[in-house]
């Protein structure tokens, strides 16, 4: 990769990305347009997160990349290779060791600190897209905080289905002002965004937007007093490590066809398994303390 610049992008591009990221941090939840570049992975495959990460990362950083909670997911492997080859940083699968974590659709189970940054890959940054297809009109709605249609959308769900049907991409009110899309994380992860110590950065490459939730910011999922927000729950724990406090995925045993639940955060699950075998392992605390 030596024929390419450090961190793949040219320096002017990285500077622009940093300026836009700073603006995003200054206006929590506001989507800052940026001149998104084509990357050597396809649009929709994490190019927004990738650009943000590449503009931030430097020697001394330790990188972790996860996709659906897994370090070993094929696309995570591909992105990790690309970032580490072009920026010569060390990589890890351990949430506690990483300084920058790039993620698709999950927040790790172990609580992150103010020394770490979590970069989200965002497919569709515009939370109003469900109720308004036009970008020009959505931007007006944000500017005027005209969120009535989104709220009515939730009301109509309750009337028809007795609950809000949104499962991921759950709308959150950031810092009492903008409603934004926390990326397609499950509801389970949404409360982790509220008053966290970590800087959360969101990059949408195809849609050319960067936004941020800075540390210690209020992040409140939209809800009604009599229909409070709730998260996914399970009747049993992880088949592998026994955890009952993590986000689980259903999967079928490819031999027996039986259905099992497994942790989606594979790194955390691995540590819990080691702990179960009484092996020495450092496990971080959960987001609730």
């Amino acid at each position: 990769m030596s024929m390419y610049n450090y961190g793949f992008l040219d320096e002017n591009t990285k500077r622009e990305l940093r300026r836009k990221t700073l603006k995003a941090v200054a206006i929590p939840g506001y989507q800052v347009p940026f001149g998104s570049r084509e990357m050597p992975v396809a649009r929709g495959w994490g190019t927004g997160g990738l650009q943000v990460t590449l503009s931030l990362i430097g020697l001394g950083d330790v990188l972790k990349v996860i996709d659906q909670g897994s370090d070993d997911s094929v696309n995570a492997c591909n992105l990790r290779d690309l970032i580490s080859e072009t920026s010569e940083v060390d990589t890890t699968t351990d949430t506690l060791e990483a300084t920058v974590i790039q993620t698709r659709h999950r927040i790790p189970e172990e609580k992150m600190t103010d020394e770490q940054i979590l970069v989200f890959q965002v497919p569709t940054p515009e939370i109003l897209r469900t109720v308004e297809p036009s970008e020009q009109e959505s931007r007006r709605m944000h500017a005027e905080r005209d969120y009535s249609r989104l709220w009515v959308h939730l009301y109509e769900d309750i009337v028809e289905w007795k609950e809000i049907r949104i499962s991921y991409d759950y709308p959150v009110l950031v810092n009492g002002h903008y409603i934004c899309d926390p990326s397609p994380i499950p509801r389970f992860d949404v409360p982790k965004l509220h008053q966290a110590e970590t800087l959360f950065l969101f990059g949408a490459g195809r849609e050319k937007r960067i936004y941020a939730i800075p540390p210690h910011t209020d992040v409140i999922p939209l809800q009604f007093e009599d229909y409070p927000f709730n998260v996914e729950s399970y009747e049993s724990g992880c088949e592998k490590c026994g955890s009952t406090h993590t986000y689980l995925e259903e999967s079928f045993d490819s031999n027996t066809g039986e259905r099992y639940l497994y942790c989606s955060d594979t790194s955390y699950c691995g540590k819990q398994q080691l702990k179960g075998q009484h092996q020495p392992v450092e496990i971080g605390v959960g987001w609730n303390g």
């Binding site: 005027e144 905080r145 005209d146 009535s148 709220w151 009515v152 109509e156 009337v159």
Partner: protein, 277 residues
């Protein structure tokens, strides 16, 4: 200020305009279109007050500028010049035309209701009737679905919509029912000012009568100030206390409705009244 609404010097022109636009248009010329530059003067030099609980009528034929005027009051269109004071907003000291769109949205949601001639404009026909009312309430920070539904039921009962239709979409409703839902929505936050633009035009005569009855009853019960825009003097006679007559974008006559009906001064007003069946 004891009047609820004050309008001063409102004009709305479409086009680039010239020095002669105002001079060469108006009722004495019988036109809105400036012969020099082709600019349309939809309305000019409009000023009036509305008092608490009062129902003001604005009457005129199509092209008189009355609908444009009421659209500027609901911020659907920005006027070219003019001032608009609302007693319930900063004690009537701020010209609300000059506010940011965020503040205007606040006023629309909290201090005004609008009923359009065409239900498409006032309702989301794809959301339920209750959802339409909820939209207004949610914007005024209601956050309890049960409370919202109670309030919606109350409003629909008042406007004589069967409660069991609350969760149906207005696109399946008759024209008269759609207007009733619009009225419910406009009243949701007990606004001090209600704007009604040709609300019965296009409805069957029997339906018209019941919708007018409803509006009259609401005015009496809730003490809301209303501005009723119509081309039809029979609507104006039935609903309003005071009337403004508009022609070619100007006010040609104003006064107590009864008085105008009895003794119209302007030839145009006489024509309108004489054409009443």
């Amino acid at each position: 200020m004891d009047n609820r609404v004050s309008i001063r010097n409102v004009s709305k022109i479409y086009g680039k305009g010239c020095d002669s636009c105002i001079e060469l248009t108006g009722p004495e010329h019988g036109r809105n279109r400036c012969p020099k530059c082709g600019t349309i003067v939809a309305c000019a030099d409009i000023g009036f007050d509305v008092y608490p609980g009062e129902v003001l009528g604005i009457v005129g034929e199509s092209g008189s500028g009355k609908s444009t005027l009421v659209k500027t009051l609901y911020f659907d269109e920005a006027p070219t010049t003019g001032e608009f004071y609302l007693q319930d907003f900063e004690e009537g000291l701020s010209n609300v035309y000059g506010l940011s769109s965020l503040q205007k949205r606040y006023i629309r949601n909290h201090l005004m209701g609008m009923v359009y001639q065409n239900p498409h404009l006032g309702l989301r026909l794809d959301y339920s009737a209750g959802g339409n009312i909820a939209e207004k309430l949610l914007m005024a920070d209601w956050n309890h679905v049960g409370d919202i539904r109670e309030r919606a039921k109350e409003l629909l009962t008042k406007t004589e919509i069967p409660i069991e239709r609350m969760d149906d979409k207005p696109k399946y409703f008759s024209g008269g029912m759609q207007q009733r839902v619009q009225i419910s929505k406009a009243l949701a936050n007990n606004p001090p000012l209600l704007l009604l633009d040709e609300v019965t035009t296009g409805l069957d005569v029997s339906v018209q009568a019941s919708v007018l009855d409803l509006i009259r009853q609401i005015g009496r019960e809730l003490g809301i100030s209303m501005i009723v825009v119509s081309h039809d003097f029979s609507v104006i006679r039935m609903l309003t206390n005071r009337t403004i007559v508009m022609k070619n974008g100007r006010i040609v006559e104003q006064g107590l409705t009864d008085q105008i009906m009895e003794d119209p001064q302007h030839a145009y007003t006489q024509l309108l009244i004489n054409s009443l069946i």
